[in-house]
Symmetry: D2
Subunit: 368 residues, 4 copies
């Protein structure tokens, strides 16, 4: 209840700070009987880990996950699954200069005011490093959803600063350092140059990320408050640096007429997907489509005005190893959050309504 657990029935409680001895989580509610080992989790952690290209933080972390409980002879037992990831490359000295002052746009200020104390090393608890345990937990959710319902998760960066990245094919996402769904080499080169220039300028930039869930059972969502889209919005807005979230047509809905927005149905399925796969807070069986806005990293070398704890004016320049575009590594994180929401709702749905797949119509899958 104090904010560090995610999910009601597939509940992930995380712990740790950027530069403490370890980070991790306890996952409560995983169904028993799922084959599981570290090998199911590590690949997802590797997708988000730092140090994989020159465009992200150069912190070197193997992010090797260890399962401490909940699995016996390679199978989940229905008891809590604890994941442990040791922090290995903590250079706390990098942060000495921001211990007593607040970076503009950073959680420094609010953590200090809320708690009266804060761990300044690497942003402490507010660090994006804390998305690692969630990605680990989501790997388990993804595996269960895939086996039970065939559900799959996909994500890509669709905009980097001013540079829009038109969608070509999901197959390209793993072939470039930006999670871009494009095979346009010139566009990728432009993004590389853009990032190099930013890094030289000591500045940072925002990004837009799109994520999609495919083969979603119809009927997930608990209106009228724990709607599926409401919980997705909660999950996405909870990711570090996210400032906006859209489902389906999103803000384009504002200027749409009802005769344009409402996706028609035919015996072959939905025509269009302005709904983003959710109506009345419940999944339609179509693809769930989500888009998020990620703000630029607040820790930059560019000098900025700020104050210290006593309210005196200071100039802040942040050195150290920071992602110049925190959005770059956000794609697997956004997928993870979407997977955790669907997992939780799959369990919630069968609690109230019994097994979910019974009424799933084929036609629901016909629309995009």
């Amino acid at each position: 209840m104090s904010g560090n657990s995610f999910g009601k029935l597939f509940t992930v409680s995380t712990f740790g700070e950027s530069h403490g001895p370890a980070i991790g989580c306890v996952i409560d509610g995983c169904p028993p009987g799922l084959a599981l080992s570290e090998a199911d989790i590590q690949p997802e952690l590797d997708r988000r880990k730092p140090g994989t290209s020159r465009h992200v933080t150069q912190r070197q972390e193997p992010d090797a996950v260890q399962i401490l409980s909940g699995v016996y002879e390679g199978v989940t037992t229905g008891t809590p699954i604890a994941l442990l990831i040791r922090n290995e490359d903590q250079r706390s000295k990098d942060y000495g200069n921001i211990v007593d002052s607040f970076r503009p746009g950073h959680a420094d200020y609010t953590y200090w005011h809320k708690y009266g104390v804060r761990d300044p090393r690497g942003g402490g608890r507010s660090s994006a490093r804390l998305t690692a345990p969630v990605v680990g937990a989501a790997a388990i959710a993804k595996k269960w959803l895939k086996e039970k319902h065939g559900t799959e998760f996909l994500g890509c960066m669709s905009q980097l600063g001013e540079i829009e990245v038109p969608f070509q094919d999901w197959g390209h996402v793993g072939a470039n350092p930006f999670f871009a769904a494009t095979g346009d080499a010139a566009l990728i080169a432009r993004m590389e140059t853009y990032m190099d220039d930013l890094r030289k300028a000591g500045d940072s930039i925002g990004a837009r990320i799109d994520v999609v869930a495919r083969n979603v059972p119809v009927g997930l969502g608990q209106p009228i408050y724990d709607k599926l889209d409401a919980d997705i919005a909660y999950a996405m807005m909870g990711i570090n640096a996210v400032k906006g979230i859209e489902i389906g047509a999103g803000f384009r809905s504002v200027a749409q007429r009802g005769s344009e927005h409402g996706d028609e149905l035919t015996p072959q399925g939905f025509v269009g997907n302005n709904a983003g796969g959710i109506l009345g807070g419940i999944s339609t069986g179509q693809d769930i489509t989500v888009s998020i806005a990620i703000k630029p990293t607040s820790s930059i070398r560019t000098p900025r005005r700020s104050i210290d704890k006593d309210g005196n004016p200071v100039t802040v320049e942040t050195f150290g190893r920071h992602d110049p575009c925190v959005g770059i590594r956000a794609t697997p994180i956004a997928e993870a959050m979407l997977a955790l929401v669907l997992m939780d709702h799959a369990l919630m749905h069968r609690a109230q309504c019994g097994d979910v797949s019974v009424r799933t119509p084929d036609i629901a899958r016909a629309g995009r």
Copy 2:
């Protein structure tokens, strides 16, 4: 846990359907000692009630609220407060034609698939009518927040379809039927004509709503999942027809540089408010600024392709009394949801950190 309660410590559990005998809610966790009567709640309900102009549904509901419990001799006792609102103008016959088929863009389809049964009268549980109890509950939250922290809530429509409504002054909001913060009579007239044309065409339109909380204590928010912005996103996306949500700079953050986005601090306060009053999921003490996208009403007279329960193709035309722009009455609802989130977080914060006002700095209020 089944989705019909909102909030963890100031918990509002609602009940009712559009055309049942009554709607209402139970509010658990209200602090004792607050002076309260129906007169504190009714004005908020009156702001959102139907039938107030020709641009909204013509259903005639007094929406008279009755307090059934939790108040003794005009003061809250700390026990649950139940609010009851009788439904009086239910013309169920209006809905006979959509009992067996699904309106495109409507919750008909998903409710039926989720539960295997649905109340078709007026949309049943999925009706926007169910926002009334929440607005009632929020009136109590608003009163407590105002008395305890001086917090105030404001909202307006900033876009109606293609028509943008530039912000002039909050004082105009109550003086036109659109909750528009403008005194531009020509613009209001244009909106009136726009709505009249839509109604004649049997179509509907989307809208954008902005809401603001002022005089917010610094320190509200429970990272790293129950962040203040995450819970706001959850609350807003849970409102009927919402498809997008922004905090502060929102989607503009995508193309912003860190040196532009991060709000600088001076001894006089923040410079700018791209953060929308929230950093790291915790309130900064600045205004909290939220913007939401509302899709066009799905119940329209324009004929649309759909299917019936057996999967056969049908044409659906929806008659009856529907808001042609559900966004028009959404402003007080969005304010209400924001108030409920802040109330819940105010209680959550003092649970963990003690009384909230101790560390609130004056400087936090200096920024916008």
Copy 3:
């Protein structure tokens, strides 16, 4: 979270005070598709209602329940079910003498100190009258459990003050005013005289109640904290005036050896039921057996020493209509709480483990 909701997935949120306009509850999470009307609920309310014999309070309440939502054409829709019971016989004047002083053994003292304000009419929120909505909600749980799993609930008074009531047959319970499972007319007569004497003496007495659930699915319970017995203990201790709770052998376990206590298994089932149907916090499929101790009513005519709000010594004599043995009407309440716990766990179990009946062995039912 503020204490007025019961259950996690079949969640009952109650409201109301003894002498307010109404009491009731909102039930969230009821599975859809259950046939339901007031006629399913009223008989359970009638079993606990006041005024049915001279041994209980003479307050005259029809306790007529109205379903306000969640049911359409006689079937639950999966949306919240609200129950409303009007208070009709509130003689608030009866309580005038205890407004400013505290009855020994009563919640007067603690409510006043906790909230700084209290509703003194009939005990306000602390009144046993508030068990009525729970009994109503449990009628729904009982019906679902009966239809789904064949589960049944039985209860009886096994001790009234010093008078032990040896169990003979459940069939007797409805045939006397004490819920005694005995056909021994002399014993019943002795109980009648005992109560008459107490009433004349202006005093009250405690009781022991036994409740049993039969045909319980094996596997219910969420260790290691939300164990089935832990939640039963919570539910029972939450009933007004309960001071002790036992499962199975209860306090007799203290002097038992392991070779005596542990119920052996044979291919025909368990031999004995010291476990009370629960091992490791999970149901075994045997009968669940629970026993509770109920203290004597604190509102008595006998003069007692106390203090007023200012700490001055006073003598308190309570007139008005009070149950001289609150235990008499406790049997249907204890059954109700047990039913609510099992209902919640049945849903919880199928959330995590799928449909509950798959692994239920016949042998589990063979033991008592």
Copy 4:
């Protein structure tokens, strides 16, 4: 929600099995600013750890706790505190003989039926070893409650099998291997002999434990379901092997008259404490007194009838290292659970009612 978290605002989520690599917990909601190190926690763990006398299991575990997060420079930061305890002395071979059959009175049977899979090594998740993380978490709660409210926790064994242990003085508890509050050397010797005989006989025995909280603030408890006594009952019944729980007069209440049971008040405080420090589910400020019944250990050498997974009859004799009276080490565990409940309610109370100490009257402390 899946049963492995304890507490709503001071939430302890545990993980681990008896013979896995580690056990531990995540504590969410600890107030910031509390001085904390392993040295505050280890002594409590040492009180319950195995191998301290010949009357308990001979498993050798240092139970050395490590704080992984939530503390910076010796002070809690308000973020989750993770505790890790490595399992070091796992002799899994000891359990080979009970992998496919069920010990009478043990959770073997129900875990297997619930989950369809179970970790048989040392009882897996159902082992009393899992009380260690809770004792660790409670050490933090105890420290905060002591500093904030002066609250203290005491416990003792009051009965071992047939042997009653009359209370003499809390000072004796640490001076004998039974947590007995007696300085009667002959009685202790009798208990030693009693246990030696049992061990030779390959049998086990039950026990009764009493725990007390002193200097409890008045006003804790969230009626009408999350009553303080209801949550204590839940906590105690959730401890391994507990079958009964009493508050104050407990089952003696059954034969008490109202004029005897209700504790009178004088300007000097309460006269007597039949209430056990709780009225209407809210603390009175008196000592909270709790008593629990613990059943005999189910793992014994005495041969017993049982069945295997296929339902065939087998004889089970359990070898290995088991506590012949699991009650012996239960005293610190019961204290821990009581501390966790009070901690949670202290936070809950100040969420709704503000700081707790304001209305605490001196007179409340005058009673026992």
